[in-house]
C-alpha cells in the first residue's frame, strides 16, 4: 500500500486500496445509495451488476469522486477521497466514462495523450515519460496503426479502444469502467473484455467494471457485486453470487444456471416463456 502525501488519514486500517464506507450518495436531493460499504479487491477484476437504475453507475461515479457523497466516504489508500488533491486522485484512479466527447478534428494520438494531464505541470507539458506512456497505451490496446487518424472517422469498437488507451496512458493502478461494452457488437465486446483481463493479469491493475451482461461478469470477474435498489444484495466470487435464486431476486428473471463450457463459470440461461416455441 502506498502512503498518501496529503488528505486526512482514516482511522481503522482497510485491506483494500479502494473502498466505500457507509456511503450515502445520489443526485441533488435523492440518495440513490443509502449506507453502502464495500471493499474492492486489490489486483482483481470486480464486476458491479444489477438491473437498470439500481445505483451501480452511481457507485462507480462515487468511487471516481465524480459525485460528492452526502454521507459516509470513499476511501482511497487510507484517505477520504474528497480530501485528496484532485490530480493526485487522477494519478491513482482512472475512469472510462459512459459518455465522453471527442473534440472535433482530434487525432487518436492526441486524444490518448490527454490521459497524461494529471502527470503534467505548467512547465512540463510533454516529458519523455509522457511519450512512453502514450506509446505503451496505444500498443496495449492495438491502436498504434490508427494513431494519426481522426477519432470521428473510427468505428465504434475502434473508438472505444482509443478511449481505453486514453485511460491507460493515465497509468493508474486502479481502472474504473462504466459499461465499457455498451453499443459494441459481440466480437468487440469479447475483444475489449479480453483486453481488460490482460491488463489485470499482466500489469496487475485493479479493474472495477459496471457490466450489463451477467455471463461476461461471471467469465471475467474475480469478484461480483450484485446490487438492487441502491444496496448490495450479494458479493463474492461468481459461483457463489450468481445463483438462480439471486437472479430471480435481483432481476425478477427465472433462469437456469449451467456451467460455461469454456471456463466452467456460471452461465445464465433465461427460462423460456410459453410464447417461445421449442424447436427440435
Amino acid at each position: 500500500m502506498t502512503s498518501a502525501e496529503s488528505g486526512h488519514p482514516v482511522t481503522g486500517q482497510r485491506d483494500s486500496r479502494l473502498s466505500a464506507d457507509h456511503l450515502v450518495i445520489g443526485y441533488e436531493d435523492t440518495a440513490v445509495i443509502a449506507d453502502l460499504s464495500v471493499d474492492v479487491l486489490d489486483g482483481r477484476i470486480t464486476a458491479i451488476v444489477g438491473p437498470n437504475a439500481c445505483g451501480k453507475s452511481t457507485l462507480l461515479r462515487g468511487f471516481a469522486r465524480l459525485l460528492k457523497p452526502s454521507g459516509g466516504q470513499v476511501i482511497l489508500d487510507g484517505h477520504d477521497i474528497g480530501s485528496l488533491h484532485t490530480k493526485e486522485v487522477a494519478r491513482r484512479l482512472g475512469l472510462l466514462p459512459q459518455t465522453s466527447i471527442a473534440p472535433e478534428g482530434i487525432t487518436v494520438a492526441d486524444l490518448v495523450s490527454r490521459g497524461r494531464f494529471p502527470h503534467q505541470k505548467v512547465l512540463r507539458q510533454w516529458s519523455r515519460s509522457d511519450d512512453e506512456a502514450v506509446a505503451e497505451a496505444m500498443r496495449c490496446t492495438g491502436v498504434c496503426e490508427l494513431s494519426g487518424r481522426l477519432v470521428d472517422e473510427l468505428s465504434g469498437g475502434q473508438r472505444q479502444r482509443v478511449w481505453v488507451a486514453m485511460v491507460l496512458a493515465q497509468q493508474t493502478p486502479l481502472v474504473l469502467l462504466d459499461e465499457p461494452t455498451t453499443y459494441l457488437d459481440i466480437a468487440h465486446q469479447v475483444e475489449l473484455l479480453d483486453l481488460f483481463a490482460m491488463l489485470n493479469r499482466e500489469q496487475d491493475r485493479t479493474v472495477v467494471a459496471v457490466l450489463h451482461d451477467l455471463n461476461h461478469a461471471c467469465r471475467y470477474a474475480d469478484q461480483i457485486i450484485a446490487m438492487k435498489s441502491g444496496s448490495i444484495v450479494a458479493q463474492g466470487d461468481p459461483k457463489s453470487v450468481i445463483t438462480e435464486e439471486l437472479v430471480e431476486a435481483v432481476y425478477g428473471l427465472k433462469c437456469q444456471i449451467i456451467d460455461d463450457p469454456q471456463t466452467g463459470t456460471p452461465l445464465v440461461v433465461p427460462r423460456a416463456s410459453p410464447h417461445v416455441r421449442a424447436r427440435t
Binding site: 466514462p97 472535433e104 478534428g105 490527454r114 494531464f117 507539458q125
Partner: protein, 355 residues
C-alpha cells in the same frame, strides 16, 4: 535542450509535432500551429507598418521602419509614434483580447456559436458601461468595472437560465441569443433616456470604435491583458480536458464546475476589458477562434492562435474602417459586423446541415 522535429518516440500524431525539452521544462505543439502563428505575427507586423503610414499625412513603409529603429527623426516620428501607433497597438491588443475570450466561451459551450458576442455577454458588458457613463460620467477604470459587472451578471443569467442537469452548449446559445436581444433593448432604452450629448457619444461607441486611442489607454490595457494571460497560463491546459466531457475531465483531475467558473470569470473579464477600451466590438470573438482552428488544423480552439488571429482581424478591420471612405471614417465595429455577418450566415447554415 532538444527540439524534436519528427514524430515523438513511437507516437505518430498524424501531424508533425515539435517537442522542446530543456531539463525538466518541456512543451509540445504541432509544427503547423507554430508556422501559422508565426506567419500571422509577421503578417500583422507588415500590415501595421504599411497602415500606420496611411492617412492625410502619408509615411512610406521604409520611413516607418526608420522611425521604429530610431534612424528616422523627422516629423514622421511624431505622426507614427504619437498619432497613429497607439491606435494600431490597441487594435492588436483588443483583437487578441477578443480572440481569447471567444476561444474560452466556444470551448466552454463546445460550440462555434457560443461566443460572448452571440450569447449576450458583450451586450451585457456594454449595459454595465452605459450605466456607469450615464450615472457617474465615465473614466476608464469605472467603465471597465461597470462592463465587468454587466458582463458577469449577463453570463450568470444565461448560465442559470440554460442550466438543467448539466450544461448543454446548444441550449445555452439559444438562451444567450434571447438574453442578448433583451439586453440590447435595455441598452437602446438607456441611450434614449440619457441626455443628448452623452447619447451621441454612447451610440457611436455602441458600434465599437478605436478612434481617439492614446498611450494613456494602451498602458492599462496591456497590463490587464498580461495579468489575465498569466492567470490563464497558470491554470494550465484545463480547457482541452474540459472539452472531453465532465466525467472524463473529472477523472483526469479537473474539477469541471470550478474550472468552468474560473474560465467564465476570465472570459467575461477579457470581454469587459475590450468593451471598456473600445465598446462592444462584435464578431471578432466569434470568428477568430474558428478561423485559427481551421488554419492550424488543431482539435478544439486554441488560446494562442485565437489571440493572434483576433489581433490580425481587428487590425485589418480598423484599417478598412479608416480608409474605405476618404474623409469620414467608419467605426471599426461596422466593419467587423459586415465581415462577421457573412461568416455567421455560413456558420449557421453549416451547423443546421449537421443537425
Amino acid at each position: 535542450m532538444t527540439i524534436t522535429q519528427n514524430d515523438t518516440a513511437g507516437v505518430t500524431f498524424g501531424r508533425r509535432q515539435c517537442v522542446i525539452r530543456i531539463g525538466n521544462v518541456s512543451a509540445r505543439a504541432s509544427w503547423r500551429a507554430i508556422i501559422v502563428v508565426a506567419a500571422l505575427l509577421v503578417g500583422a507586423f507588415a500590415i501595421a507598418v504599411v497602415a500606420v503610414g496611411l492617412g492625410k499625412y502619408t509615411v512610406a513603409p521604409a520611413d516607418v521602419l526608420g522611425v521604429l529603429t530610431g534612424s528616422n527623426t523627422s516629423f514622421d516620428r511624431v505622426v507614427v509614434l504619437e498619432w497613429r501607433m497607439p491606435r494600431m497597438l490597441m487594435a492588436l491588443l483588443i483583437g487578441s483580447t477578443l480572440g481569447i475570450s471567444g476561444a474560452i466561451f466556444q470551448a466552454l459551450t463546445r460550440n462555434a456559436l457560443g461566443s460572448p458576442d452571440i450569447i449576450g455577454v458583450t451586450s451585457g458588458a456594454y449595459t454595465g458601461a452605459l450605466i456607469v457613463i450615464a450615472g457617474i460620467g465615465g473614466g476608464y477604470y469605472a467603465v471597465a468595472a461597470g462592463a465587468l459587472i454587466g458582463g458577469l451578471v449577463t453570463a450568470v443569467l444565461v448560465y442559470a437560465l440554460s442550466y438543467r442537469n448539466g450544461l448543454a452548449g446548444f441550449r445555452l446559445i439559444v438562451v444567450g441569443i434571447a438574453v442578448s436581444a433583451v439586453v440590447n433593448s435595455v441598452n437602446q432604452w438607456i441611450i434614449i433616456k440619457i441626455d443628448f450629448h452623452t447619447a451621441v457619444t454612447a451610440s457611436v461607441w455602441q458600434q465599437g470604435t478605436l478612434s481617439g486611442q492614446s498611450w494613456s489607454q494602451a498602458l492599462p490595457m496591456t497590463v490587464c491583458l498580461v495579468v489575465m494571460a498569466a492567470f490563464l497560463v497558470a491554470m494550465g491546459p484545463q480547457l482541452p480536458v474540459l472539452q472531453m466531457g465532465d466525467d472524463a475531465a473529472g477523472a483526469l483531475g479537473v474539477r469541471p464546475d470550478r474550472a468552468r467558473l474560473a474560465y467564465l470569470v476570465v472570459g467575461v473579464g477579457l470581454v469587459a476589458l475590450a468593451c471598456a477600451a473600445a465598446g462592444p466590438i462584435s464578431f471578432v470573438a466569434l470568428a477568430a477562434p474558428q478561423i485559427a482552428r481551421r488554419l492550424t488544423a488543431s482539435p478544439g480552439v486554441g488560446l494562442v492562435p485565437s489571440a493572434v488571429m483576433g489581433a490580425v482581424l481587428l487590425l485589418v478591420s480598423d484599417v478598412i474602417a479608416q480608409q474605405v471612405f476618404s474623409g469620414s471614417e467608419l467605426p471599426v465595429g461596422a466593419v467587423t459586423v459586415s465581415l462577421g455577418g457573412a461568416y455567421l450566415i455560413y456558420l449557421l447554415i453549416s451547423q443546421a446541415r449537421q443537425r
